[in-house]
Amino acid sequence: MVRKITRTLLASCGLAALLGGNAWADQTVNFWYHFDSPENVSIMNDLVKTFESKNAGIKINAENIPWNNYYDKLFTSIVGGKAPDVAMVKLAQQPQLLEMDALEPVGSRLANWPGKADLGNNLLDISKASDGNQYYLPLQYVVVYLYYRADLFSAAKLNPPATCEEFLEAAKKLTVPASANNGVEQFGFGMRGGKGGYDNWGPFVLSQSAFEPGGLKSAKAVAANGWYVDLFRKQKVVPPSAPNDGFNEIISTFKSGRTAMIFHHVGSAKTLVDAFGDKVSAVPAPSCNGGRWTSFGDESTALFKSSKAKDAGWKWMAFLSEADNNVKFVQATGQMTVTKSGASKMTFPERFVKATENSLPFAKPLPAVPQSADFVNTVWPVNMQRALNGEITPAQMMEALDSHFYK
């Protein structure tokens, strides 16, 4: 009887081990991403299918999270112990994710990954954390540059601006009242005073400031901010809606022919070429008093410490950053591939790729400190809008920004 029970127990244990073994082999990677356009989700589905066919036993559960709530959901999921295994992340959030002890270092995995050599120059250095470890694997990038209406510039006998002074001169000349423009009021510059507009403001002000205590409220920085605020208040070369204008507003007014210059990245190239063809072109952000700055917009993937499928998660991250897969991925987002071999396969018109490449030498992300995220979301828009409407002076705005970073 005892022998029979022992045999049954052993058989049960063997079966359990076998089942357990299968369960281990079939891993699911929960992946969070954000695509602006829902039609592009099919591109992600294709990538998942390709990956799963090459990696039997790994299932990718890819979830498109709306951008507006992306980081709220990510942060609350981490605190609630329900973080995804892998997610798309930006550099601005890296210090906060590190503070939460949420990220898994990927340095040793990266060292053994054959795709490493194909990653674009400096991208790994830029995404390295302040503690010297590598947590992020670059996925795509963009650099903000200046779109301009080549036909309007040519008619006004202007060259695309290379300096602040030339920018102001062009903005003034291309601001035309409705009475002199077939009933359509035209402005030289589509200023983005609302959320996300710091990368329009940065080329004029951060080019003359420094991210160090007092660096944002130096006399030079304050004067630069006053110059920028005056584009709205004194020069009146921007639409009166500028304090509230976000991405949709600046793009729609540019597309409707009511502004002559806007800042954005290669992600808007297709829609603007569809609207204007060769009449729209791009140049790097102008230099101001010898300084030059533009925003380096990054996007990486990160592996989370809480993941129970780290090896499978890494395989998926690596897959997305490999040449052809990465080119396919950026088709959905309209951004630049991170691989050298994929760069030649990009389908953007050359003038926009050139504007991106020529901007890279002076493109920088915001400082890798926890305050950067709140600066982008709240502190910059509120203070910029108040300065544009005259509720605070440009100096008080810079004082507020400086104390946000260095109080």
Binding site: F75, M100, P239, P240, S241, N244, N389
Partner: protein, 293 residues
């Protein structure tokens, strides 16, 4: 077990699912918000979470944005609800008359109420847009404006522009409630008043308004609560800007909680606002609804 005790127990058994659901879905989060408000709790600083008693509440007292937002919330409720009520009342009186397309009019009137707030916010943002918006275009064509007005970008007009959008969204609620109330007033009261020589205005004051009191008190109370808590239209139209010009208290609490990830302070703002609203509703019911059973 007697049949009498079964009868006594039945209401409790029948009510228990609703009570349990309310406890779990409403009271537990409220309690949690109250507890969180006593902590320094910034979401991305889990190691820094600490009990700080009422410090968040003391900080609120010294926060100028809180007081500005409170003032704006008073304007927000004080203008939106009466305007919705007035417009809804007039609409209900019109819809209570006989005309051949009344059924169609009753359906059309519901459209603003049936639209999602996000759609309304986006629609009105484009209506107000200085470059491509229809409002400026119309006003300029009529000669009422010389140049386009940035309704939402100007801190002096932004809040009122959003209030106008919310009045448009909310008046059908009053119209339908009041219309339902109007149809419960017996027609012979009006006939008797006519025989006695009452004017239309006297009939309105003596019959219609008292007959609608119950409906009006309830509808106004519900709208005060909904409008006070409503921030989706503001969020879509201006995000609280320009600057703080359209920050109401619920929006400020939301932004402190989710944009700045400051859950402790955001919860304290939410709790404070709930208490303010509770006091307001209590005063309202005591003064306006005192004769009601």
């Amino acid at each position: 077990m007697s049949a009498q005790s079964d009868v006594r127990r039945t209401p409790y058994i029948l009510l228990s699912p609703a009570i349990i659901a309310t406890l779990v879905v409403v009271f537990y989060p409220m309690l949690q918000a109250g507890i969180t408000s006593l902590y320094r709790s910034i979401l991305w600083k889990p190691k820094d979470v600490a009990f700080i008693g009422l410090d968040n509440y003391f900080a609120i007292l010294h926060d100028p944005v809180f007081w500005d937002s409170l003032g704006r919330t008073a304007i927000w409720i004080g203008l939106t609800v009466p305007l919705q009520l007035a417009l809804g009342f007039v609409t209900a009186l019109l819809l209570n008359r006989n005309f051949w397309w009344r059924p169609l009019a009753r359906s059309l009137i519901l459209i603003p109420w049936a639209l999602p707030s996000v759609v309304i916010g986006l629609m009105w943002s484009w209506i107000y847009h200085p470059q491509v918006g229809v409002l400026n275009d119309l006003l300029m064509r009529c000669g009422m404006l010389q140049s386009a007005m940035p309704w939402l970008a100007n801190p002096d007009t932004a809040l009122y522009a959003i209030i106008a959008a919310l009045v448009w969204q909310g008046f059908p609620f009053f119209a339908i409630m009041i219309l339902a109330g109007l149809q419960t007033i017996p027609g012979n009261l009006y006939e008797a008043a006519s025989i006695d020589g009452a004017t239309t205005w006297q009939k309105f004051l003596g019959i219609t308004l008292p007959g609608l009191k119950g409906v009006l008190v309830t509808a106004v109370m519900l709208r005060i609560i909904w409008v006070a808590n409503s921030m989706d239209v503001i969020y879509v139209m201006t995000g609280g800007g320009p600057g703080y010009a359209t920050h109401t208290l619920p929006l400020y609490a939301f932004k402190r909680t989710y944009s700045s990830m400051d859950f402790g302070y955001g919860s304290a703002l939410a709790v404070t606002f709930s208490l303010v609203l509770l006091v307001l509703i209590t005063i309202y019911l005591r003064r306006v609804g005192k004769d009601m059973k």
